[in-house]
Structure formats: C-alpha cells, structure tokens
C-alpha cells in the first residue's frame, strides 16, 4: 500500500516523488527502464526562459527557482550554470517575433536586453554576419540532463521513495477511492493517488480511464563536437530553431536543431537521419563561423512525447479522481520539470496548486484539436 504511485521515472516523476515524500507521503515510483534514461536524460539541457508559451510563465518561473536551488535541495550538483540565453534573428520579421517574446518575458518580470548589430558584434564577436538582432536574458541557464534526474531520484530515495527500476506497469485500475497498479513481473500495489508521468508512453495509461490525447513520439536531432577552445558562454538559439547551441565548460559544443526527427517509442529508438546532422552542421557554421573546423563526434536524439498544440498535459484526470497527468512536454519539459513535480505534489496533497495550469488540461482534446504554428514549423 502506498499513498501515491508514480508511473514514469523521468524528471517529472522524480521531482514529484521527491516533493511528495518530503511531505511524508509513502511513494512508489515505477520506471520501465532506468531513471532519467529517456527524454529527461537525452535532451539538450536548456533552461530557457525566453520565448516560452505565454501561459506557462508562472510555472516556468517557479520551476526556475528550483533549478537555481538544485544543489541545496537535492544534495548534489547537475552542472547547473547560469549562462544566459541569446536569442537571434536573421531578418526583420524574426526581429519582430523576438520583440514579442521579449515583451511577454518582461511582463513576467524577466530582464531582457535588446541588442543591435553593433552591440552584438561588440559583445559576441564570434557571431557570424547572418544574425542581425538578438535578445539576451541573463537568468536563463543550462544543466546536464544526464546527471539531473538520477540525482533527483537519489534525493527522493533518501526521503523514503521506493524506486522500482526495470519495472513495467502492465495495468492500472480504480479500486474503491484509490487505484491498483499491476506490473509485468506480476506484482500489485494499491495506492491512494496515481501520477501518470510516462512521457511518450502516457496515453496507454490515460486510456485505461477513458481519456486520450494525440501524443506522438519524436525528438530533436542533436550532436556534440570534440572539446574546442572556449568561445562562447550563453546558450545560443536562432528563432527559426535551426540552431540551439551551447558550449560546455570542457569545451564541447552541443547542438540541437529543428526540424525534429521521428522516434520509435515501441522499439525504443530515436535514430538521427544523417541529412539532418548535415543540415544542423551547416546551420551552426553559419551562425558561428569559427566552429566550421570543429569536428562532430557524436549524434543522438531522444524519445519525447509531442502534442499537436505543442503544449503539455498537466493536471487532474477528468474521469478518475485521484489520477494526475503530466506528459507530452513537446521538447520543453526539462526547464519546467521541477515545477511540474512541485505542482503535482500540491494538487495531490492540498487539492490545488497556486500555479495556474488551466491551459494544460487534458480536457482540451475533447473538442477540436488545435494545431500550433510551432508544430508546423518544427517538424518536416
């Protein structure tokens, strides 16, 4: 018997487990593989505050405070670095879009600097001539996704969470006012509340309770170069998404870029077509010409859950009281992961959370599905 069972050992599941256990809950977390192995561990590691979905800012900022406090909360580091984020535009249309993003950010209290070409060349002389304008947010950060989730998982364990890796949940059903979770190994667990944080695999569980969402699996193609001499500190992003790059402290340049690539959630594979690697290489060399002679040493992607409106599902089930969904993070779940975990713990224990989450209700798929502009642009 547990108070809460969590399905999915990604960043969201691990943070939710941590916050619930800190408030005395008996929590069991089921993970079909290993903690943080899927999109939580294979993403780019961006903790970007600029250019987010406007309705997400309260959650995003709440989450950011948790990232900033990561080491104190979790007891070990995850290479969190407040590097700032430079958002670049190639033409006037893009510059107008940047301005729109900047105003939304500022309305939520963020400090955004607007940089003209002269200022750009002065402060970031490594930028190629393609960039005509940019905004800079100093509070934006990065962290190492390969280290973050296992660290949160360990902290949760120390608070008493029972983490069961390599344990696939085979069935969930309601029982009385709670639920029963069955695993492929044949174990059963009764629990009061249930969290569905199963990422690209979450719909399977939602459908046990008559709910659904048009989730599909995909991921951004990513690559990393050999370590290169230190060149740039901030995360760098072109507004068209063709380049999302950062240089790690040891010198490797990591790149993620659109269009995103298909992933096979059943086979657990997210291969990167070489043509996408080449396109991303060309795009990066255009934005940072000095990198042209750097060598790409490794390519990867990850299996992420996407929804056509490019915003996640977060909140209570509309059919099964006690069930809470958090999935479909559309490639931007890393930054809000800690905040989502915190909000889930509040919804479960307090019945509500002070963070507005209405736009993320699963109920929006009962009516006509919205296909976002981002969706059209970020996939090919």
């Amino acid at each position: 018997m547990a108070d809460v069972a969590i399905i999915g050992g990604g960043l969201i599941g691990a943070w939710a487990a941590f916050f619930l256990a800190r408030r005395g809950q008996r929590v069991v977390l089921f993970e079909k593989g290993t903690v943080g192995a899927q999109s939580s561990g294979t993403n780019f590691g961006n903790l970007r505050l600029q250019g987010r979905f406007p309705g997400q800012y309260p959650l995003s900022l709440r989450s950011h405070a948790l990232w900033e406090d990561f080491e104190a909360l979790i007891g070990e580091g995850c290479e969190f670095a407040q590097t700032g984020h430079l958002y670049c535009a190639f033409d006037e249309d893009e510059q107008a879009k940047l301005e729109g993003y900047a105003q939304v950010s500022e309305s939520h209290g963020l400090a955004i600097e607007r940089l003209d070409p002269a200022e750009l060349r002065r402060r970031f002389p490594w930028l190629g001539p393609a960039t005509v304008a940019a905004t800079f947010s100093a509070r934006d950060a990065t962290a190492n996704p390969r280290l973050a989730t296992p660290a949160v998982g360990r902290a949760a364990q120390r608070c008493g969470v029972d983490i069961r890796e390599n344990t696939r949940v085979s069935a969930v059903s309601q029982q009385g006012s709670g639920f029963v979770v069955r695993t492929a190994q044949g174990d059963e667990l009764a629990c009061g509340s249930l969290v569905n944080a199963a990422g690209a695999w979450a719909v399977e569980m939602a459908s046990c309770f008559g709910e659904t969402a048009p989730v599909f699996a995909a991921g951004p193609p990513q690559f990393v170069t050999e370590p290169l001499p230190p060149l740039f500190t901030p995360s760098l992003q072109t507004i068209d998404g063709s380049v999302i790059a950062r240089q790690t402290e040891r010198g490797n340049v990591i790149l993620a870029g659109y269009p995103r690539t298909a992933a096979d959630a059943t086979a657990n594979r997210a291969p990167v077509p070489p043509v996408k690697t080449l396109a991303a290489m060309r795009a990066l060399a255009r934005v940072v010409p000095a990198l042209a002679h750097g060598h790409v040493i490794r390519v990867w992607s990850g299996i992420e859950g996407y929804l056509p409106d490019m915003i996640p599902v977060i909140g209570p089930s509309l059919t099964a009281p006690g069930l809470f969904h958090a999935f479909g993070f559309c490639g931007h779940g890393f930054q809000i992961g800690p905040g989502v975990g915190l909000c889930l713990s509040e919804m479960i224990l307090d019945g509500s959370t002070p963070t507005p989450l209405e736009p993320f209700s699963i109920g929006r798929f009962r009516t006509e599905t919205v296909v976002s502009d981002k969706f059209r642009k970020e996939f090919d």
Binding site: T34, Q157, P274, M281, R282, G294, V296, I297, W300
Partner: protein
C-alpha cells in the same frame, strides 16, 4: 543493374570485387585508406620506397599477389580511396572524401571493414610513446618509421612476435616481448590451432626468431605500469615467477589481439550476439556472410579469422550476393571456400583462448588508471558511478553518467575494457553488461564538410 557496394579494400573486399567482376558486375569499392590492401597488406604511402619483401617476410608472396590482383581489376571497378563511410541510413551510405560529403545509394552492401587493436588499460598507457601493436606496424609499413629505437612489446597477441621481428628487421631494438598469457594456456589450445598447421608453424618460427635474436620472451606476465616523465622511459611488469622487473625503453607497442570494426554493421542494421570466447559482441551472419537481406559481412570485420580467412570469406560473400541476385553459382567453387573460412575461424577461436584478453588484470587496475583516454575518465570514476544509488549497471548507462566512451573514438578503444569492468562489478557476464551501440559519425566529421560542395 544492381549497385553493389563493398566497403573496405583489404583481402576480403578485393577478393569479393574479383568474384563480382568475373561475373560482369562493376562494384563500387570504398576504401578509407590511401591505397588498397587494408591493414595487414598495407602499402607504403605514395612516393615512399620501402623494401616490402623484407618487411613482409614469409607473407611477401601473398602481399605481392593481392596487390597484383587488385591492379588487374582496378579498371573494372569503381574504386574510391580516401573515403570514409561516416553514416548509413537505410540504403544510403554517407561518404566523406577530401573534406566533402556525398551520398551513395547501395542496393547490395558488403561490409569488409576489418579489425582494430584491442588494448587493456594500465597505468601510464596514455603516455606519449605508447602505441597499439597495430599502430606500431602501420607506422612501419605506411611511413617506414619505428615508434622508437628501444621498443617493448606488451600484451597478449601472436602478432607481437611478428611485429617484433619486423622491428628488428628494420633496425629497431626489441627490449622485451612480454605476454600476459601463460605458456600453458597456449599449449592447451594447441589441438585447435593444429587446424591451421601452416599458420601455427609460422608462429613457432617467429618464436624461434626471437630466441635466436636474444630478445627476452616472457609469458604469464602482469603488466604493472608504463612509466616516464612526459614520454615513455620504461615498463614495469611482474614475471610469471612473481618478480618485478623494469625494462628501459622509449616506446611501447600494446596489444591484446584485434577486434572487428563493427560500427557500420551496427548502423546498417546487423544483429549482434555476445561471443564468450572473444568476449565481444559480434555481428551475426550465416556461413556465407549474409546478415539481413541486402547486407553481407566478410573478413575480420565480421569475425576474426586472419588475412587468409578474410580473403576466402570475401569471395564467399560475393558468391552469396550473386546467388541472391539469381546468378547461377558453381557449388564446387563455393564449398572449399566455406570450409576454409570455417577452419581458419576455428583456429582464431583457439588463438583467442590461448592469447586471452586479460580480464582479471583489467578488473584489478587501480582507481586512477585512465580507462577512456578521449574523455580522461578513470576506472575509479566508473566504480564510483556504479556504486551510488540508481547507479548504472550497463555500459550505455555508465557512458551517460561518466562520459566513458563519449569522446572522439566513441568507445572503440575503451569499450571492451569498460565492458569487463561493468561485468566484474555487477557480477554478471559480458553479455549482460551490454555493448556500446554504434552511432554516427563513425569517425569525427568537420562542420565545414557539410557546407563544402559535393564532389
């Protein structure tokens, strides 16, 4: 006409091309090297004159024959030297040649990618002056250089004796040939090695050469460290009687046999299985080299068998390709090839047992021994990562947590040792420890190549 692409112009690739040419096909032969021949029959760089007959010794006739055969078919094939296949995506081979990328569609693909050295880490093995055994031979054959004047050969490989002989021939001093395998293990493997009596005799001949030349020849040693201040100055080892000994030298050739180059097979969709004798995951094929429809593997890149087996398996795979294309084949020609490949590979399996991969030695390495030289990851870092809660129990997780295998070589050098460390710590066998999966790019590719116009 079907486009048949062969990757690798060693004995397997050349023999396969010959068979296909004889039936009127014009295969594409892609070669990462400057000149055909592969590693074993490598030719000196253009413009460099070397006495290859003297260097190749007993292999000189075969060396000359293979290159003559290549010369005879060169105008019947589409030969592409200096070309790296850096990725495979379905039927598309992604090529890199002279700083430019290109794409080639293959209806039928034969991978004859050969092998590379397998090395066990020890303290000091990343010092300048330490080469792999194969690297030491490449320096000699490709550039006519010795890796040093006073060279220690260290590891577990019959090739150490051949390389030592070559170094002596070319004027180098061999300070020691130190084998980690006890002589008894080699004696025990004799019955299996008798399946290739000529190769066995050749090996015994190299051993006799070493005796005659006065080179210290040690068996059952435990290498302790390579030492030096900024460069190799000596090797420390414990001999079979337990005595610690130091051999002064200015270079070390380190090798524990070879392992198949399998990344392209991985990217092309071959399936892999763990082989307990070789202690490696190897691509699976039928006896003729068929992997999956349209994909064939031959030579040491499929399974270690040596140059003669590579040549026969290349021809055999070409016959399989022709058969699968509906071209009638002479069964009488195929059967002896199949028997030869089976016999020579069985011999190599015996060698793999005789010249064993030093599992216990690797697992006993001190914490500060560097395991992954690209990313500077120590064995201790792997042990620490695995010891913590939610720590990794499988090589790909270790890679994610520690960066071991994440660098320029993508785990090709550290992978086998990493697998043993993980297996040792978890009390599992190598099969459960898992394998580092192949990822593109197979070798580092410069960003600028993506923007260069295609050739």
């Amino acid at each position: 006409m079907t486009r048949i692409v062969i990757v690798g112009a060693g004995p397997a690739g050349i023999a396969a091309a010959e068979v296909l040419c004889a039936r009127g096909y014009r295969p594409v032969l892609i070669d990462e090297g400057q000149r055909a021949g592969g590693q074993g029959y490598r030719q000196p760089s253009a413009g460099l004159t070397l006495d290859m007959r003297r260097l190749m010794g007993g292999e000189a006739d075969k060396y000359e024959a293979l290159h003559a055969r290549f010369d005879r078919i060169e105008d019947q094939i589409d030969y592409r030297p200096r070309t790296l296949v850096w990725a495979i995506d379905g039927a598309a081979l992604h090529l890199l040649c002279d700083g430019r990328v290109d794409v080639l569609e293959a209806d039928t693909l034969l991978l004859a990618t050969g092998a590379m050295d397998r090395v066990a880490p020890l303290p000091g093995w990343t010092l300048p002056g330490v080469f792999t055994l194969g690297g030491a031979q490449v320096a000699l054959k490709d550039q006519g250089c010795l890796i040093g004047q006073r060279v220690a050969f260290l590891g577990s490989s019959p090739l150490m004796l051949l390389a030592a002989r070559q170094y002596r021939e070319m004027g180098g001093e061999v300070v020691v040939v130190a084998d980690t395998t006890p002589l008894g293990a080699k004696a025990a493997a004799l019955p299996q090695m008798l399946r290739a009596p000529r190769t066995l005799l050749r090996g015994l001949g190299y051993m006799a050469d070493a005796f005659r030349s006065g080179t210290p020849l040690l068996h059952g040693v435990t290498p302790l460290a390579v030492e030096g201040d900024g460069h190799v100055e000596g090797v420390w080892l414990r001999d079979s009687s337990g005595r610690e000994r130091r051999f002064a030298c200015d270079a070390v050739a380190l090798g524990h046999g070879i392992k198949p180059e399998t990344q392209l097979a991985d990217l092309a969709g071959a399936s892999f299985a763990y082989d307990a004798d070789f202690r490696l995951f190897l691509p699976q094929t039928d006896a003729s080299g068929r992997s999956r429809p349209g994909l064939y593997l031959a030579g040491d890149g499929a399974k270690i068998g040596g140059a003669d087996a590579a040549e026969a398996s290349g021809a055999l795979a070409a016959h399989a390709i022709l058969t699968d294309l509906g071209v009638a084949q002479d069964v009488g020609a195929i059967r002896p090839l199949a028997r030869k490949v089976a016999r020579l590979r069985a011999f190599q399996r015996g060698l793999a047992r005789a010249f064993a991969w030093p599992v216990a030695q690797i697992r006993a390495q001190p914490d500060d021994t560097i395991l992954c030289r690209c990313e500077n990851v120590t064995i201790g870092a792997v042990r620490n990562a695995m010891a913590q809660a939610l720590g990794p129990v499988e090589v790909n997780r270790v890679k994610a947590m520690t960066r071991c295998g994440m660098g320029r070589c993508q785990g090709r050098v550290c992978g086998p040792a990493l697998q043993e460390i993980v297996a040792g710590l978890t009390g599992q066998d190598g099969a459960t420890a898992g394998r580092l999966r192949g990822q593109a790019p197979v070798k580092p590719v410069a960003l600028s190549t993506a923007s260069a116009p295609t050739p």
